[in-house]
């Protein structure tokens, strides 16, 4: 029985190569277009998200509060209340913190080889790279070994390198004087552009301890940068840091806090609205592609109904039972949709890879869910519209089916 159904399905499909081919083509195009469109959309979404991430939208910056002597305020950041200890405690106490980087920043005069410039000197820890999204162009960044030993090493921002050593020069191994202390250049950062806080390209980085020992001369830090795991945990992380610092600084009234928390709220708002728009765009693209693909498949299946209804009439007339007719036509619909489905997935995947290859700005991402969705909907449409008319025809009397126009 089963062998007969499979053989009959195979014969029927191969005897009608044009019909089978066109049906499969319809399914292939439907599935491939959904997968490709969605992969381009998701690629674009990822690209946008990562450029927003590069600005550091999940960044929280803790600065000391205003120093107050009587009624005179020294202004934001003028007091010295934050220490490396605060940073260590935050890491230990607050969940969803990806990285934390205390820093001592101040502008100093730099000179080397007769050139000099005035720039921001940032004393910090290795985590700073990740927290502030800075990449190293050549050499290395400050390591924890450097921090431990208060090494006199410095990493230059690209602008500083250009100002002192000349555009594109290799300064590694050279020496720079900061506040009359010699620092050896161990790396150059990659150009990044503005962040909304400061220009990281026009900064130099030294180990935190070195900055404290040789430059500032105390144990306080000027700010602590905290990177939350993702945008969604920002609010909670900020809230918990605030509560924790109040407690550890023994302050009961939040209005009297000796620190300030800042984040890039407007960037986050923009980011989430862009992401939201993209999600809608993606859903519409997927929806329309599925609709178009589905109608194509439905069309192919339904155009063959007349011929197939007569065939079903004949099969019934020569005494084949309804159940075998139903099973054969179901098997045909399944075979066509799966054949078309696999080819479609492969083609869609290939097309996305080609788009990635030839359009470098568009990194496409093929997601399992789009593959499953495209395959699922096409298979369902193909099977329903392949099988349902056959089932209806098999329920007609053989004479009605034979005379079907």
């Amino acid at each position: 029985m089963i062998a007969d159904i499979l053989k009959e399905t195979f014969w029927s499909l191969s005897a009608n190569k044009v019909r089978s081919g066109l049906t499969i083509l319809g399914i292939v195009i439907g599935i491939a277009s959904v997968i490709t469109m969605v992969s381009i959309g998701q690629g674009a979404q990822k690209t946008i998200e990562s450029s927003i991430q590069a600005i550091g939208s999940n960044l929280i910056i803790i600065t000391p509060g205003a120093q107050k002597s009587g009624s005179v305020s020294g202004g934001q950041g003028s007091s010295q209340t934050l220490t490396v200890g605060d940073a260590d405690m935050i890491v230990a106490e607050v969940p969803n913190v990806k990285g934390i980087a205390p820093e001592v920043s101040k502008r100093y005069q730099l000179n080397a080889k007769g050139n000099n410039t005035n720039t921001q000197v940032v004393g910090t820890v290795p985590d700073y790279l990740g927290v502030r999204n800075i990449a190293i162009d050549s050499g290395t960044f400050v390591t924890s070994q450097h921090v431990k030993s208060s090494a006199k090493v410095v990493v230059l921002g690209p602008t500083v390198r250009d100002d002192i050593f000349g555009v594109g020069a290799d300064p590694i191994g050279q020496t720079i004087r900061i506040k009359n202390v010699d620092f050896e250049v161990i790396g150059v950062a990659l150009a990044k552009g503005g962040t909304g806080f400061s220009n990281p390209d026009n900064s130099v980085y030294v180990p935190l301890t070195s900055a404290q020992h040789f430059l500032s001369g105390d144990t306080f830090v000027t700010s602590i940068s905290v990177a939350a795991n993702d945008q969604n945990s920002m609010t909670a992380v900020q809230q918990q840091i605030s509560e924790f610092l109040l407690k550890s600084h023994n302050i009961t009234d939040p209005a009297q806090a000796d620190f300030t928390l800042m984040n890039q709220t407007d960037i986050i708002a923009t980011a989430s609205s862009i992401t939201g728009t993209f999600t809608m765009l993606l859903s519409s693209i997927a929806g329309i592609s599925l609709l178009v693909g589905g109608i194509g498949i439905m069309n192919m299946m339904l155009t063959t109904v007349t011929e197939r209804t007569r065939e079903i009439g004949l099969r019934k007339a020569v005494g084949i039972k309804k159940i075998y007719i139903n099973m054969q036509f179901l098997a045909e619909a399944v075979a066509l949709t799966f054949l078309g489905g696999f080819v479609g997935v492969a083609l869609g995947w290939g097309a996305s890879l080609l788009v990635s290859k030839f359009v470098p700005q568009l990194t496409t991402v093929v997601s399992l869910s789009s593959v499953l969705l495209a395959f699922g909907v096409s298979a369902a449409v193909g099977i329903i519209f392949g099988f349902y008319p056959a089932r209806r025809a098999a329920n007609l009397s053989p004479m009605e089916a034979l005379r079907y126009e």
Binding site: G313, L314, V318, I320, P398
Partner: protein
């Protein structure tokens, strides 16, 4: 072999009632060659469909080989058609783009026979129906009308049926080919097959041993030669 008692068939389309068969009773013995003749609209096709278990009468009873057909379910009717009735249609009704052999084997699908047995029986039937062996693996749409009808006849014989029903088998054929096909039916009848043939042409009916003429759903005459 075949016994019809007071067969009635009424088609209802909206408020309009069409009486296709009105109290038709007759019987056919084994080995007879019967032509049912009548103009279009006479009810001969309806009668044919009832005899072929393709349609059920509105009232009355129809016995085939002593079995009451009008009481059977859809699947039982399929089984009956497969085992007892061979059909030859006016439009041949072969599977398109399919070999002659596969067309003849169609009624054997899903039966207990092995592939070799099916091919063997199909070849025997094709030879019996006068089909040249060189054409067995041709596709059905590459055949002439006469050849297609021979394939259809071979298909109707494959299950060694009790009766062969032919619905205007020469309707789509020229006179010369019609005569060849009718000769084939005569030969089958001489070999002992019971044949019931429907036609509206007197010349075709003349090949049969008995002619039942029908008009407006009523049997007008029943003449045995």
């Amino acid at each position: 072999m075949i016994e019809c008692k007071n067969l009635n068939k009424i088609y209802q389309t909206g408020d309009v009632q069409t009486i296709a068969l009105n109290d038709v009773s007759f019987s056919v013995e084994k080995g007879e060659f019967v032509a049912i003749i009548g103009p279009s609209g006479s009810g001969k096709s309806t009668l044919m469909h009832i005899l072929g278990a393709l349609d059920a009468p509105t009232s009355g009873s129809y016995f085939l080989d002593g079995k009451e057909v009008s009481k059977l379910e859809d699947d039982e009717l399929s089984e009956l058609r497969r085992e007892k009735i061979g059909f030859v249609f006016q439009a041949f009704n072969l599977l398109p783009r399919t070999t002659v052999l596969r067309n003849v084997m169609l009624p054997l699908l899903y039966s207990d026979t092995t592939d070799e047995e099916r091919v063997e029986r199909a070849k025997t039937c094709l030879a019996y129906a006068g089909m040249e062996e060189s054409k067995f693996y041709n596709l059905s749409n590459q055949l002439s009308g006469g050849q297609m009808q021979r394939v259809a006849i071979a298909r109707s014989l494959i299950n060694n049926p009790a009766i062969i029903l032919a619905d205007e088998p020469t309707g789509n054929l020229d006179t010369k080919t019609s005569n060849v096909v009718m000769k084939a039916f005569q030969e089958l009848n001489q070999k002992g097959h019971t044949i019931i043939l429907i036609t509206h042409e007197q010349e075709i009916a003349a090949f049969a041993g008995r002619v039942i003429s029908i008009r407006d759903g009523v049997i007008e005459s029943d003449i045995k030669k």
